[in-house]
Subunit: 149 residues, 8 copies
């Protein structure tokens, strides 16, 4: 069993790298969005031409990014969605909603102070983790049955 | 043609009432979540028994509310998601993600200052409105072909 | 919003009648299996001819009953599955599995002593109720927003 | 043709090993739940933190296990569900219901004394086997056309 | 519960009329193909213009008939397929295959001499009836729980 | 049986009115796009605000119109797509593609000079009609079995 | 592009071997039912135990065979259904109906004398071939664009 | 992540070759229709026999081509649809409609003079490109996150 895992959400800390490193040796195929913030914001106009209106600038970029994120979520068995301390992170919650509607196994990775604000998202999840290492432990258990000693 | 419209998101202003009032006379069936904030927070423990741990208190409530919101979204032709000025509103973005994945027509109702933060959500929408009246005008046009004079 | 509710499981106590009576006045359409135990067991051979082998006797009946139960579950918004004190009740757990796979809102109605044995079923549910009255309260809240006083 | 087979249900005897050994040489990929009973019961709290309430202890574990079992069933062509002599085994019947709703080919493995109690589950199955060896023979016939001599 | 029943297959005897008459008073909505054999054969060319080649004559008619039959089967809860003594009746078996793939409850109505030839179709059915009256009894039981006295 | 029929395509002649008038007395519910060309082109900016760039002007309008057309096609049993003599009519072919992918019964209404250019669209249709009256005759036959005398 | 092709229907002539031989060198993966007639008839009782009643003897076998045929059809891109001169061949038409409902590309292989009886099946097909060699030519063209010289 | 990309539409210029060459080194699997115009027009009659009526000549060919195009679109993650300067190109718009209904990521490749005529198609797209090189840049960004320098 290969587990396809999509890592969605916050792109300002190294949580993805921690999970990928921790899962070394496990039969997991990771995927996720483009995490270069500037490229992600500007990809639309950089490729398809400038927009004087910031709204359409953003729109073109969000559409191009959707080519990648929708395939990533659609192909995944497990979608991990990370909520951090900053920003609105509505795209993370949006990805969680798509994952839930598609019947994916959803793992939310978030600090306890967001518990109340995330209760609807958490209610659709199969696990709410606090640390990247807990996500790794879940993946290891799911694939091998081994628990942390 | 009866249009089934689900009104998701912010529950602290009267935007739902404005839309329902404005759409009077149109063949629209509106639905939405329970908008009594206290009842919505406490429904789980009020019905199914207390939880000493706030996390499970929230969880039980979010699950009971999901019975209503999931049916409302699943039955809808159009899902309007309102983002306001306060709170994290991750449940609104989560509903938008579910609506998008289910192929619903999505209308986002939000002030311009959130354009950048909502660009991924807006990219999945068929309209981004600034006022409840614009939502009403869209519904009227969709149902009757009449534009605002 | 009319809520279509399928009442699955145990057929030896009057829990269905309690729920239907308690929900009087609410916009709920109830459905469920044939609850006449003898008719349910014998319907296959009574209509389609005797079987000397008990296995096929049972099989013919289970198939005819499936015409009703599959439609009932497929049409439902909410599936309530009741586990009682007696018998194996595998058909109840089977219905719960079908309901979960079809994305129905699942409410499990069961005494606490079965918590451990039902943990996988409960994990797929949006509510675990102990009494028929709690089920009624959930339906009332979902439809009207009113909590028990 | 590779046949993906999920082995669900009873985890206290070696029926899985018998089937896997018997199917040696056939193009079958087997999958199944974590069969270490203690790990399966405790995985939730071992990874995600203790729960003083046994209900939530169980709940967290059942949710984590669902990551594995739902993928296993969703990926399978054939789901074999084994019912043994002990325990309630509602999770086995629940898996059978999910498999049936997803259109999987269902094989039930059970002793004759459970025929009546399992008639609804059996009615959704393509085969009811009494021994692990019969399951192997079915897999061999399906893949190669060879019958037991 | 209204049961939508599609009556497919043989069009040379009055089995449909017998079932409709027998089901009088039950909450059943019947549908079926055009049973005027000549109209059914010629509808394509009569409406859309002559074809010198008999193959295309037949083809145009079969396509127009498919508008009706596909909707009828798609809308149905129960599909009854009747096999009689004459002709190839491949369209009946084709309808049964469509109904099975769509998850409809299938009832086959056929004389015992066709049991062997129909074994694959019967294997997908929830009931194999010998007389129109047995079909009526099934519908009555499914809707009311009443068995023939 | 009520037949839901969506009338897609060309909006410059009265072919829709002819079909609706001809189908008077039949159990048909018609739907279609907004056929006021100016309103259809400008609805986006008229409701949601001006766009200096013609591309986004068009885009906003096409998105608002999609709220209506996607529901109309999704709800339909039969989609009639009319190709006329003028313009590119790519939206008509696009609607036909959506209808085909959704398994709708497709009727193409087109003059013979477009046969070659429309061969891929026609290959997905159940009927290719030349006149609105032929469409009416198909609807009458499908609903009543009556052929034109 | 690998084309998965399921070869359904008549099992008394060597048409499958002709197609497989003719398609040598093409990127096609063939599948089909067990074509050993005796094994196919008796597999149920040979593995799962005798049945004194011929109906259940047939039934058990048809169910076991369905494990293979349903996977074969579900996995296929193209389903070729061969109708020969003898027997009722209702299982072939049933497979064609399943394939059509699942949106598979259907090729019917049949002699002209069955054109009228097969018109409903042919109306769901993308090609009606008369010889195995024509099926090979279609597969070659679909994969390589090469036509017979 | 391998991206499966279907290249639909205009077959008279070398835009496909440009994209394939530009994407060299990227993990992309390209597919598309048969682009030999004569073979594509005549495949039906060349394989399955002559038709005196041009309509059926075209029809047979379009059906055989559909075996390839439907699989290509169904298997794709991304469908690129190219509209050129000549012909009606209704098959291109039809493919775009199918792709949209199937939830594929749609990229439209078209000159600005067609913006108004293509506004409904563009409204379903995630990107509207003007040159094959822009399509390559999108694919590169989606797969690697790299933008054109």
């Amino acid at each position: 069993m290969t587990l396809k895992v999509y890592l969605s959400g916050e792109i300002h800390t190294d949580w993805r790298e921690q999970i990928v490193a921790g899962a070394k040796g496990l039969d997991v195929a990771f995927d996720g969005p483009v995490t270069d913030h500037a490229a992600s914001d500007d990809c639309g106009v950089a490729i398809l031409g400038n927009e004087p209106d910031k709204y359409w600038h953003d729109h073109k970029g969000a559409m191009v990014n959707a080519i990648r994120t929708r395939k990533g979520i659609a192909d995944a068995d497990v979608v991990v969605v990370r909520f951090g301390d900053k920003y609105k992170q509505w795209n993370a919650a949006f990805d969680a909603g798509m994952a839930a509607a598609m019947g994916k196994s959803l793992i939310v990775l978030q600090p306890p102070e967001h518990d109340h604000a995330l209760k609807e998202v958490d209610a659709a999840a199969l696990a709410v983790a606090r640390t990247p290492d807990q996500v790794v432990q879940i993946l290891r258990y799911v694939l091998t049955g081994a628990l942390p000693s």
